[in-house]
Amino acid sequence: MNSLINRGIEEFLRSTYGDALVASVVDDAAVARGAVAPLGAGFGAESLQRAAFRMAKPHSEMLEDLGAWMTRIEPVRRLLRFSGRDFRDFLLRLEELPGRAQLVLPSLKVPRLQVDAKDHAFWVVLLDPEPTWKSVLAGVIRGMADDYGALCLISVEDTVIRIEVWDEQFAEGRLFSIQCGAAEAGQA
């Protein structure tokens, strides 16, 4: 499972910041670990920290970008779209996310979530406070708001992600059908 995550991080860094940054992150990791490192080991969670350092960005922002990037990967986007007909539904059913993640990758420890809602505002509470997941999740929510075409304000507080939804159909959301496309099916 680590290899999947490492590869995800590598892809994220490569497609967002280019080969040069990836190469320097790998170099940094090689210096830190010595020559005989397991395959893809340069892309553990700490590589995001190295990349953030090199790009002079806060680590949490890097994690948010990773979360938002994930929602633009078609298979991941499709999986996320399975848990909600619209953005509100998606937010309310975020509580199911740890269970869904468990189905896909049992060793991926997504913290338990609790969603509260009042009028236009939603609060996603991390029941097991975990700063990394908090930032990644905020990014995922940001990305999915774009995907559903919802206009919202997302703020990250202590152990809570607060989302104020202003307009659900601000922009035309991207299409989703529960049928997997023929082209995609052919790839698998």
């Binding site: 999947l4 869904r100 896909v104 698998a188």
Partner: protein, 331 residues
């Protein structure tokens, strides 16, 4: 029926059970759930030509299968005729008016049904796990694709590592590990088609004469250059099935398949020594680099272990050294 509660309007029934069917004993269809209708549009005009029994040994008539399942309280399996690999499953009960209410589901044929009938999540009852099954299916495929990609990457990396682990980086010949592997294979693999036994071979152990002086007087760079050149000479000498390795310092070992004639081996050794003498750096003035060689001829009837064979070749090599270097001894 005194305790009957449900007196549902048809719309409510359709909403609650989008895959239901109400019919009488003659097979007249009285109500169809909207999802079932999408999947099997012909049901409007009756069961015939649309559904047949999905279980062998019960006769093909759908109405018989339905009645049997309803009255005996057992599971019902119905095959959709125009999607012949799709078998719906479900159960049914008698209503208070004597008609039968059947509720069907997809089971493992879900994905196919969705493709065929272009179903969306609105076609499924909220209590149905259809979406979860689809989710799992897609997630699984995604993870497996990625894992198999990773596996291929690992296999390629392993191959490269294995090759590197058996290669002498200076000369590009095999190293001691490669030689040990090749030797034990040569002694076991039945490569001779006629006898179905391992092909006999000559194990040639070679050591450079005065190599130490090249290093001491001309520097290690000159020594490395010489070793590299010897490597190319050996590479040029061996055939496809032979093996050439540098097993340490200035020690080289060859496995020459099928070479069992001492005279022929003597010729090869002479030529080898002459070629290596030509590589001798002229700066060495009074000395000349050459090679001492020890050879063991192996046939399948010999019982030595590979290690013992190498020791014997080494001993033959030392005989050559004692004889004054620059010559070969067949042990």
């Amino acid at each position: 029926m005194k305790n009957a509660i449900a007196n549902l309007p048809v719309e409510a029934l359709c909403q609650l059970m989008p895959m239901h069917l109400v019919l009488n004993d003659r097979g007249t269809v009285l109500s169809i759930g909207p999802t079932l209708l999408k999947l099997v549009p012909g049901l409007r005009s009756g069961l015939h030509g649309c559904l047949i029994s999905g279980r062998a040994g019960q006769g093909a008539e759908a109405i018989d299968a339905i009645r049997n399942a309803v009255d005996r309280g057992i599971r019902l399996f119905l095959r959709v005729q125009h999607i012949s690999d799709l078998v719906l499953r479900g159960h049914g009960v008698r209503l208070s008016d004597g008609n039968m209410l059947v509720n069907l589901g997809f089971g493992i044929g879900l994905t196919r049904a969705i493709r065929k009938a272009q179903l969306t999540d609105a076609d499924f009852a909220p209590s149905d796990l259809a979406m979860e099954l689809l989710f799992l299916q897609e997630a699984n495929r995604g993870v497996l694709t990625e894992l198999s990609r990773f596996n291929q990457q690992l296999a390629a990396a392993r191959e490269v590592a294995l090759l590197q682990a058996q290669t002498d980086p200076l000369t590009g010949l095999g190293n001691r590990r490669a030689l040990e592997g090749a030797l034990s294979i040569a002694m076991r693999q039945p490569t001779d088609e006629r006898t179905e036994r391992p092909t006999p071979f000559a194990l040639v152990h070679m050591d450079l004469d005065h190599f130490k002086q090249v290093n001491d007087r001309l520097g290690h760079k000159a020594g490395d250059d010489l070793l590299r050149d010897v490597g190319s000479v050996l590479q040029g000498l061996v055939r496809k099935d032979d093996t050439a390795a540098r097993i340490g310092g200035d020690e080289f070992v060859l496995i020459l398949r099928g070479m069992t004639c001492p005279v022929a081996i003597g010729h090869v050794a002479e030529r080898l020594i002459a070629n290596i003498q030509e590589l001798s750096p002229p700066e060495l003035s009074d000395l000349r680099v050459s090679a001492s060689i020890g050879v063991i001829i192996w046939g399948h009837d010999r019982l030595e272990t590979p290690e013992r064979l190498l020791e014997m070749a080494d001993a033959a090599l030392y005989d050559s050294k004692r004889k004054g270097r620059g010559c070969a001894t067949i042990g």
